[in-house]
């Protein structure tokens, strides 16, 4: 710009430069956080992608009385170290379920040992020389193959890595969160409705508000201690059960639900209420038929975010005994159960290398469930949102 112009501002250049600098500063923060996320995701995908397949070996299986008594005699001795002990263990049961197999021989695909799987996936493996030559010969004859890893999705935890899966933890998560929502949703929403619509504004409601906001921020492990003291020690509910875990997480999500539901209720304009009163509606009619339905998308969003929060939580569940070895899927909330993050925590601490890919794959499963939950929240908000 011309220096002689009346609009000339000598500081303009500097100000523009400053604003550009600020823009790039904020942009670089975004890039850094995306980079972290990208590295984490890439690492998980790289480590977890091999878990999509699992190695199987084709061997001859003999069904007879001896193999019912000792499952290790089902196959030829020289294959024993190459096959999964957990898979062989299941064979006698299949025989008893299907007596026509008795005293026959059959060539079937049997799950391979985790070391064989590591060998096939080109990781570090520990296989003795003799077993290795047997394996190489099998491989030459096309008797070793990788197949889709259904076990990971149809089995619970196992101490033999090749036989472990995420199913029991997944079902445990569903049961636990069902309890959490059944308790936290009605209580949380009702509390928010009372505080927002019925209670008087005085020091007492201020005091409550501060406390609820405070509760939403305290470390989750404290809720675990509370759950242990109340549900297990006082009420005598069974340790490690989905019921206790769910109730504990309900304590934790309750303040989050109250805070977000209040915000949703508050965003309903006063004109709606006033119009209702003008038409002669009672307070309950206004709240029940107008305010809550209008605030519902917001309330649901808050609930889903609270749910996602509870889903990724492990700390309080350690205290109530849900970080445990539980291979069977629980069939009721009273049975011992574990949850997905707890399962990942357990796997991450195991010495066997084969658990690394399982942990990464489990993380990917957990992340995709969380992403779907959060997208659902966004979708609900967009779909039912009312603009004023």
């Amino acid at each position: 710009m011309d220096k002689n112009s009346i609009f000339y501002d000598p500081s303009l250049k500097r100000r523009h430069f400053k604003s550009k600098l600020f823009k790039y500063f904020t942009l670089s923060s975004l890039v850094v956080s995306l980079l972290f996320l990208g590295i984490f995701l890439l690492d998980m995908v790289l480590k977890g992608s091999s878990a999509v397949q699992q190695t199987y070996i084709q061997v001859e299986v003999s069904y007879n009385q001896e193999s019912i008594d000792n499952y290790r005699s089902i196959v030829d001795k020289k294959y024993l170290n190459l096959l999964s002990r957990a898979a062989l263990r299941e064979v006698p049961e299949q025989m008893q379920a299907n007596p026509s197999l008795m005293n026959t021989k059959e060539v079937v695909w049997i799950l391979a040992d985790d070391q064989v799987d590591m060998y096939m996936k080109k990781y570090y493996y520990k296989i003795g020389e003799k077993d290795l030559s047997t394996l190489e010969e099998l491989q030459k004859n096309g008797m070793v193959d990788k197949k889709f890893n259904t076990i990971f999705f149809t089995h619970g935890d196992s101490k033999t890595p090749e036989y472990s899966g995420i199913l029991s933890a997944f079902i445990g998560t569903i049961l636990t969160l069902a309890v959490t929502m059944l308790v936290a949703f009605p209580i949380g929403v009702a509390t928010a409705v009372y505080l927002e619509e019925f209670s008087k504004q005085n020091w007492w409601s201020e005091f409550l508000e501060i406390n609820i906001n405070n509760l939403a921020a305290i470390p989750s492990i404290l809720f675990g201690l509370l759950g242990l003291a109340i549900y297990i020690n006082l009420f005598g509910l069974p340790r490690s059960s989905a019921l206790v875990g769910g109730l504990t997480l309900a304590l934790m999500t309750l303040p989050i639900i109250v805070v977000s539901s209040r915000a949703a209720l508050r965003s309903v304009p006063a004109s709606i209420r006033q119009a209702g009163y003008a038409l002669g509606l009672t307070k309950v009619q206004v709240v029940k038929d107008h305010v809550i339905p209008l605030a519902f998308p917001g309330i649901m969003t808050g609930n889903i975010i609270g749910l996602a929060h509870a889903m990724g939580e492990t700390a309080p569940l350690i205290i109530v005994g849900m970080i445990a070895f539980i291979p069977d899927s629980p069939s009721s909330v009273m049975e011992a159960a574990t949850v997905m993050p707890a399962q990942l925590f357990t796997w991450a601490g195991m010495p066997e290398r084969a658990y690394i890919e399982r942990t990464a794959a489990g993380i990917l499963v957990l992340l995709s469930v969380l992403i779907s939950l959060n997208s659902l929240a966004v979708y609900l908000r967009k779909k039912f949102e009312v603009k004023w």
């Binding site: 002990r85 957990a86 263990r89 299941e90 570090y124 520990k126 196992s158 101490k159 033999t160 059944l182 308790v183 009605p186 009702a190 297990i232 009420f235 005598g236 509910l237 069974p238 340790r239 490690s240 019921l243 005994g321 970080i323 445990a324 070895f325 539980i326 291979p327 069977d328 009721s332 909330v333 009273m334 011992a336 357990t346 991450a348 601490g349 195991m350 010495p351 066997e352 290398r353």
Partner: protein
């Protein structure tokens, strides 16, 4: 309406609790070191019998003892795993809470490895040198008084050791492995070293810690690396100068990345650990509440399976995941005493 629903749900839940108090599912708590072995047995038990799979929780040895000894009723665990023997205080706690009939089972050994990256030259160290490397206070040059640990390099401790900085990644205070390391490396030596014990004798109240001195230095040379031993392995892979302290099973599983150091000239191999030659190894235990056997029908069967040759024997399943079996004579003896349900008493705990 929701309120009445919740009331009904809670009533139903409490009714279920009462009906569940007679249970068939075994509940196990305790040491994180024994946890993989215990859950392996539990899985085998669930898969090969009609009984439900026992629930195994990893609470740490001390935490397990607390839960185990809290009461004798059916809500308490039936078995607690331990990476050390029960302490007399714990037995007393058990007894005051009515848990009087307990049987001890020894399942095998666990060696504690002093490991380093595989790329390094093999390392020989004595227990004394280890003590000097990690203790907070060590004897001064003239050996008459205690000074804050001045050693920063191994070569300063002994000229025969390499010129390498001392960095040790090890478990935190809450860990049973740490207890065992302190017990076998520090206490075992300091209780016999006059420079420590003289201080204790001079003032038994104030200097109680010097009776069996086991304080580990906190000046950044010994780094507490958390309970997850996989993390320590990963760190050794990055930091070539460092050493890591962790259980034998992690050494075996990561033989491509790390190697164990010889302690007092003995390598951490299964044979050396089993025979007791390797000096930093400990026994692993579990404790059974016998009073529960009448209610929990599967309890005896589980204990028998655990103690069987198929599990803890020389070619047993637990050996495959890193348990070092007891010598045969000891296995037979302990199996007999467990079958007889011999009671744990203060005298039996005092015996070696």
């Amino acid at each position: 309406m929701t309120l009445s629903k919740i009331t009904i749900a809670l009533l139903a839940a409490s009714a279920l609790t009462i009906s569940l108090s007679a249970r068939d599912q075994i509940k196990i708590v305790g040491s994180s070191t024994v946890y993989p072995f215990s859950s392996s047995v539990s899985e085998e038990f669930g898969a090969t019998t009609k009984h439900p799979t026992p629930v195994v929780e990893s609470t740490g040895t001390g935490g397990g003892m607390k839960l185990f000894c809290a009461s004798n009723d059916m809500t308490s665990p039936d078995i607690t795993n331990a990476s050390r023997r029960m302490k007399t205080d714990e037995l007393k706690l058990c007894e005051t809470n009515g848990v009087t009939d307990i049987t001890e089972a020894v399942i095998g050994f666990d060696g504690i490895a002093i490991a380093q990256a595989k790329a390094n030259a093999p390392f020989n160290v004595t227990k004394k040198q280890l003590l000097l490397a990690v203790a907070a206070e060590v004897p001064s040059a003239d050996g008459k008084t205690l000074v804050a640990n001045p050693y920063k390099k191994w070569s300063e401790i002994d000229a025969s050791l390499p010129d390498r900085e001392i960095t040790v990644y090890g478990p935190p205070k809450s860990s049973g492995t740490r207890d065992a390391f302190e017990e076998m490396v520090l206490k075992a030596l300091t209780e016999k070293m006059e420079v420590y014990t003289n201080l204790y004798k001079a003032d038994k109240e104030k200097n109680k810690a010097y009776k069996e001195y086991s304080t580990i230095r906190t000046d950044g040379v010994y780094v507490e690396a958390g309970e997850n031993d996989n993390l320590i392995v990963a760190k050794l892979d990055k930091n070539r100068a460092a050493f890591g302290v962790f259980g034998y099973s992690f050494l075996e599983e990561n033989a491509d990345k790390v190697q164990g150091s010889n302690v007092d000239g003995v390598a951490p191999t299964p044979d050396n650990i089993s025979s007791g030659k390797y000096p930093v190894s400990r026994s692993l235990f579990f404790y059974v509440k016998n009073a529960h056997a009448a209610e929990v029908k599967s309890l005896n069967e589980y204990v028998t399976l655990f103690m069987s040759e198929k599990m803890i024997g020389k070619k047993g399943i637990l050996g495959e995941i890193g348990l070092i079996p007891l010598p045969e004579a000891e296995r037979t003896a302990i199996r007999e005493s467990v079958a007889k349900k011999e009671k744990v008493t203060l005298e039996s705990l005092a015996k070696k």
